[in-house]
Amino acid sequence: MSSVYMRRLGKELMDIQCDGLPEGVRLLSADNMQSWFFTIQVLGQSLYEGEVFALEFRFDNSYPFSAPAVLFVKDRTYAPPIHPHVYSNGHICASILGDDWSPSLSVTAVCITLQSMLASCKEKKLPPGNDTYVRTAPDNPKKTRFVYEDDTCDPLLCVS
C-alpha cells in the first residue's frame, strides 16, 4: 500500500530530524521518497578508524513490508568498505536486508546494524567470489538472493 509507505517514510524522516541520528551517522540527503543518502563511520577503535562511507537507501512502495535496498556508495568521493560482507560494488550481504527484515526495523536501525557490522570486523578482506559476483550482479542488490552464513556470503543469482 503506497500510502503506508509514504506515511511511514515521512514519519521516519521527521523522527530523524527531531531526534537526530545515532553517533557516527549523518544524513546527506533525503530529497525524495525513493532514495536517501547517509554517511556512516565507525566510532572508537576499529579497522575503519577515520574512514567515512556513504550509504544509499532505496525505497519502493513495498516498504516497510519488504526491506529497503541498501548499498554502500561507490563514486569519486566515497568507496565501499573492504569487509567480508560487502562486495566491492557496494552490495551488502546482511540478513536483515533480506529474509530477516521486519517492519519493526527502520532506517536508523539498519544504520546501527551496519555500523556494528563494520565495528566488529576482524580482518579487512573482500567476500569470497567478489569478482564473479560484481561482474554479474544486478543493479538492485535485492535481486540477489544471498545465503546468510556466519562468516561467508554466498550470493545466488537467481532472479534477474
Binding site: 500500500m1 503506508v4 506515511r7 511511514r8 514519519k11 521516519e12 519502493d60 512502495n61 513495498s62 516497510p64 513490508f65 519488504s66 526491506a67 533480506g98 529474509d99 530477516d100 527484515w101 521486519s102 517492519p103 519493526s104 526495523l105 527502520s106 538492485n140 535485492k142 535481486k143 538472493r145 545466488l156 537467481c158 532472479v159
Partner: protein
Amino acid sequence: MTSAARLSPQKPAPTIDDLRVRLCYVCREEEEHGAPQPKRWVHPCSCTLIAHEACLLQWIKSAQESRDRSKNALKCPQCGARYQLESHNPPILRLLEALNRGISRAGTIVTVASLGGVVVTCAGGVYLLLASYGGVALKEYLGRRYFTFVLTDDPNSWSWATWLSLPLIPISLILSRLPLGTPSPTVPSTMLLLWSAVTPDEASSYFASHGILRYASIWPLTPAPLWPPSPTLICVCYPLVHSLYHAARRRLTHYVTEGRRSPLLLPPNVQRFLWAFGGDNGQHGARIDIMVQGDVEQPDVQQERDREQRLDGENNGEAAERTIRITGASLGRLLGGALVMPYIASAFGNALLGLSRRSHILRTILAVKESAPRTAYQWEMGFTPKDGGLVGAIERAARREGLPAPGIGGTLRILLRLLTFGHRAWIESDPVWWRNTLGLGLFIVLKDVIKVVHLWLAKQELESRHLKNRDFAGIDPKELDLVHPWPSVGSNISVAPRS
C-alpha cells in the same frame, strides 16, 4: 493462568485498550486514547510491540509469499512470540489447497521426469517422441476411425509431410499454453483441424482428391451442412471466442478478488517470466494469487513493476497478475497440462457422447452420426498417384470418373471448398473432433469455475483473518503509558508469556 495474573487478583493485566498512545510498529502511526475513529489494534505477542491489525496482517501476508521469509511471518520481531492467527478456513478450501499442492508436486515430478527424458534421449529420440505423441494426440482428437482412414495405423506409409507436421502438434500445444499475448491456441486448433482438408499421405491424397471430385460435382446440388460448423470457420472464429472468454474470465476473477468491477479496458497483456527453479514459492497457489493481485508487492519484481506502474498509472495488481513465475512445478504443470489436452478433450467428448444417448438436443448439438458413412470408405483404396500433384490427381480422377476436367478455375474452386468445408470423408464421418472440441471447451470452463471458487474461498479466508489479542501480563504497568494508573504488580514476577 499465569503467575502474573495469580499475583494480582484485584485487577487483571492492562490490555491494549488501556494505553494512552498507541504506536503501530509497522506503519509508525500513533493514535491517542479515545480517538474519534479508532482502527483495530492488536497486541499479539508478549512484549510491548503493538500494531494496527490491518498493517500486521499485511506484513504476515507479504512475508508468507516467500518461503525464506515465511518463517518470520508469524513471529514477533522483538520477543519472538508466535502470533495466533485465526481465520475461517473451511474444509473445502483446505481440500482445494491440498489438491493444488498435489498437482504442483505432480508438476515437479513431470518436470524432473521430462528433464531426465530430454537428457537421456538424443535429438532423434525427442523427435520420435514428439511425432508419436502428435500421432496419438491426433488419433484421440479426430477419432480412431477417421485417423485410420487418413493416416492408417502403419507409420511406414506416412509421408514426409506427416512426419514433419506430427511433431509440431505437441510443440504448438505447449506454445499455446504460454501466455504470449496472442490467442495462440489457434495454432494447435488449426493444426488439428486442418486435417479436414489436408491429407498428407500420398496414398490418401489420392483418395482425398478423388473424394474432392465427387464432392465437388455433387456439391451444388446438396445443401451445405450447417452443423457442425466447419473446421475453417472454427479456426477463424476461435481467436474471437478465445479473447471474449478470457476477457470475461479476467473480469470475473477481478470481481471475485477485488470485490469490484474491473475497468472495461485492461492494460495490454505483457508477460514476463521469472525463472525461479531454486525457490518454489507455490505454497498456497490461490492465496499467493490474491496476494499479488492485492496491494503487497513482491520484492523481486518491484523495479519492473514500478516502471510499469508509471506507464499504466495504477493497478499494480494487474501488473502482478501478468508476471509469471516459472518454477519446477509450474513448468511441469504447463507441459503436462498442454500434452494431456487431447486426452482430456477425448474423455470429455466421450462423456458428452454418453450423455447424448439420453438427450436428443445434445445429440443434435453434437451432430452424432452413429452409422459410419459407407461412401467415405468405399473409395478404391490401393491406387497410388504417380505424379502431377493434387491438380494432376484431380484431373486424372475426373478422367477416370468420366467427368469433364475441371480446369484451373474449377480446381481452384474445389480447393477453396476443400479448405472451407473439409473433404467429403470429413463431412460424412462421425464428427468426433466436434464433440471433442466441445468437450475441451467444457473442461476449460469447469476448470476455470473451480479456479474462481478456489480464489474466492481463499480470499474469504484472508479477509476473515484475525490476530489473537493478549493482555500485557508479565510487563510492569509502569513501563506502559496507560490512561488510568495501574497498581504495580511488583518486580518479583517472572515474565511468563502465555501460550
